[in-house]
Symmetry: C2
Subunit: 200 residues, 2 copies
């Protein structure tokens, strides 16, 4: 398969590249690095990258940011940041990518453990993660040309504990290589509409 | 209790008013009717209504719209309509209302059966419903001054089947009075962070 991998320079993205790169041709895309320039918050940039990618069979997104703050400090603008970036950024990958991907191609999006296990300061992450699971569940039933769509929801990543550990006290970290298996299951399996939880 | 009820003129809102009005003082709020004018897509209008409401102990929202279209016709703008209206409208009720509501007060938001049971043309409804469940689950752990927050997710409403039936083939309708019990459970019980599913 030819796979467009967005966010290949991140901790999870690198592990996904290692896992899928063994068996498939990867076209990496990112804001500042990769084979193609792509900013998921800019639909024109998504379209240009897909135009440049040539034919492809899968899109894997390891990207998206939300605001981390105590709920009492969270504003509407803070929630809108996550909606515009991690939620609509990944939704736009699908809305635009569905025109370019091959018949039977797959989309794999990323969320995280806050989809069911809320942590302090993570109310935007929980909102966006569930929004994506709901979108994927419903869109899967209506995807055109046999296309599939899933989301991978890993626990806090072991290699990122220096940065994320303080937000995820009590959580058992997941090695990035193990999280990457969820992406392989989505791309190389046949399920659709699923949230694959990879927990430690 | 004094309860601010938004969307009291709708099918579910009327049933909630009947259920809660027996035991509590209701202040109704709506875009075009009710004791107070409130447009949930306009934060200034939310704030003005809460200022005018006087002291209150609960906010019940029976409002919010999303775009219903086949997935292949859904655009980013269509998803943003539901995000701005049903999602951020109800989130803004909480973000602003948390300043005005009494200690231990409760917020009760509304979604629907598409949170777990997707229907054709309902991908935005599924996205927004799950976003609200995720928000409520996480925000509940951080609400100030003992405040609680839940969401009620009823099945398709029996009294609205003339309009909604074609979207919900195979779904067992729920009488509005039965759906209203979910709102009573949220307001008059002590649970928080829950999605109360009221299915037919």
């Amino acid at each position: 398969m030819r796979i467009v991998l967005i966010g290949a320079s991140g901790t999870i993205g690198k592990a996904v590249a290692n896992e899928l790169g063994e068996r498939h041709e990867l076209i990496t895309a990112g804001r500042h690095s990769g084979d193609l320039r792509m900013d998921v918050t800019d639909p024109a940039s998504i379209r240009m990258a897909f135009e440049q990618a040539g034919a492809f069979d899968a899109v894997v997104s390891c990207t998206g940011h939300t605001t981390w703050k105590p709920f009492v400090e969270m504003t509407a603008e803070d929630y809108r940041f996550g909606v515009n970036d991690k939620l609509m950024g990944q939704v736009n990958l699908v809305l635009i990518g569905r025109e370019y991907i091959s018949d039977g191609g797959s989309f794999t999006l990323s969320t995280g453990v806050t989809d069911h296990d809320p942590v302090p300061m993570g109310s935007s992450a929980s909102m966006v993660a569930n929004a994506l699971s709901g979108f994927v569940m419903a869109a899967a039933t209506e995807m055109p040309r046999g296309q599939r769509i899933n989301v991978v929801s890993p626990g806090v990543i072991e290699e990122a504990m220096a940065d994320y550990g303080p937000f995820f006290r009590g959580h058992c970290p997941v090695p990035a290589a193990r999280a990457a298996l969820g992406y392989a299951k989505s791309v190389e399996g046949l399920q659709s509409g699923q949230t694959f939880r990879i927990l430690g």
